[in-house]
Symmetry: C2
Subunit: 234 residues, 2 copies
DNA sequence: TTATTAATTGTCATGTAGACAATTAATAAT
DNA sequence: ATTATTAATTGTCTACATGACAATTAATAA
């Protein structure tokens, strides 16, 4: 039997930076950590990678366990591999960011798992290097969202143009001109206008749109310019 | 003493996809693997992550050991974490791509470490999932190079416009109009024209340029459009 | 009727992009 | 001196994108 002699072995975890959008504010899903050390402190959703699963599998599992949701947009974006990032024992963490339609998230699981949504700018301090992970994930989200129509993952099946614009403004911390924004979005071919209106936030009501999934899939990898004054930092 | 109970532990490796450019062809640095299994087969440069080093440290070390070079452009781009990717024992691999000025690479180390440059399109079969890693790294390189001036990392201190164009054409597998290309490159402010000429490939000779490092550093994160007909796939 | 938000449209200046052609330049080889 | 060769720049044309800003039309609850 061949062996790799006496190389050191490490724990491997996954951590998920879960973004959500409620129509107004960009949010982050956090949990109270259930094991020592730092028990009861706020933390990203995460878990160890089991013997029979890939890191992708582990991230999917973690997300399922904490939100009850399947088929979530997940993207591995960085490994955190400093030797001392976990004070107890060396643990590498493979970080993923996830985009969730917040309305799909079932409230009772919230209670079960002590998970809670926080407005991204009013979140508590997190354990270990999780604050850094969140900052990195935000940057990556901004970057990706400027070039690919990824933010649709955060919206419910039916959404309005004002909601879409609010989302873009929240992610990028900027005001966007409505006329130009709508023109641009309509020109992507990604939107399908529905007959129904959302009258919850105005008298006139805003038409609902749904995503053209076929176009979304086929054009996802193309490079768009979805942001005015594109100037990113990553 | 707190412990994470009986979670499984794994080996963690780094693998580097090392790109080089000789003025004509995009190349890949490979080594003959020195341990079982698959000993003497071609492989990416890699190694296990030691107990006292971060994954970034490990990648730097691996590169230093195999090329003798420091200060190489290195970017972590993906973790390969399938349980069975290594037949002997579960090993996660953190993949980095590296960009090397091929002229800096010292030939004698080549012999010592059995490392060899292959034209990227005429490379041998690689072990494990290394073929996939190379394909992924190429895509990532193309993507990044279209948006950021990263390809300068592959060029020597002095380079000519024709060399630069050839490099862009090699990375992206396309012909580029010289007039438009030179206009675009000159307009970035990244180039500093030198007095000296390179007469090796023409009678007239092509002026050497060097990189404006200050501008390079300050503008690196901005999103450029360095490719005609930008249409990427990642 | 009014206030309010939605959605579209217009306009203007500016810039980029790319196809394509032409020109000027330098110099080694003949 | 002429020629062949590659380098580098420039011109031109069309098309389209961009973004600032304003104006307009629309729908409807209060």
């Amino acid at each position: 039997m061949i062996e790799y002699s006496s190389q050191p072995h490490y724990l491997v975890a996954v951590d998920c930076i879960v973004f959500g959008f409620d129509g107004e504010t960009l949010k982050l899903l956090l949990v109270k950590r259930s094991l020592e050390p730092e028990i009861n402190k706020w933390s990203l959703i995460g878990g160890f990678v089991g013997a029979e699963e890939s890191t992708d599998d582990a991230a999917i599992k973690v997300l399922k366990k904490n939100t009850g949701l399947d088929g979530i947009y997940l993207e591995q974006f960085k490994v955190y591999g400093k030797p001392d990032r976990d004070p107890i024992e060396r643990t590498l963490s493979v970080a993923y960011f996830a985009l969730i339609d917040i309305k799909k998230y079932s409230q009772q699981l919230n209670a079960d798992y002590h998970a809670e949504w926080f407005p991204i700018n009013e979140r508590p301090e997190l354990i270990f290097d999780h604050n850094t992970m969140v900052a990195d994930a935000r940057k990556r989200l901004r970057y990706k969202a400027a070039l690919h129509p990824i933010l649709f993952e955060l919206l419910p099946k039916k959404f309005t143009l004002p909601q879409l614009q609010t989302l873009f403004e929240a992610v990028n911390d900027m005001k966007i001109d409505t006329g130009n924004f709508n023109r641009k979005m309509n020109s992507t071919g990604l939107l399908v206008k529905l007959d129904e209106k959302d009258k919850s936030s105005s008298k006139k009501g805003a038409y609902y749109f749904k995503l053209n999934h076929k176009k979304y899939r086929s054009d996802f990898h193309l490079v768009f310019n979805l942001l005015p004054n594109l100037s990113l930092d990553l």
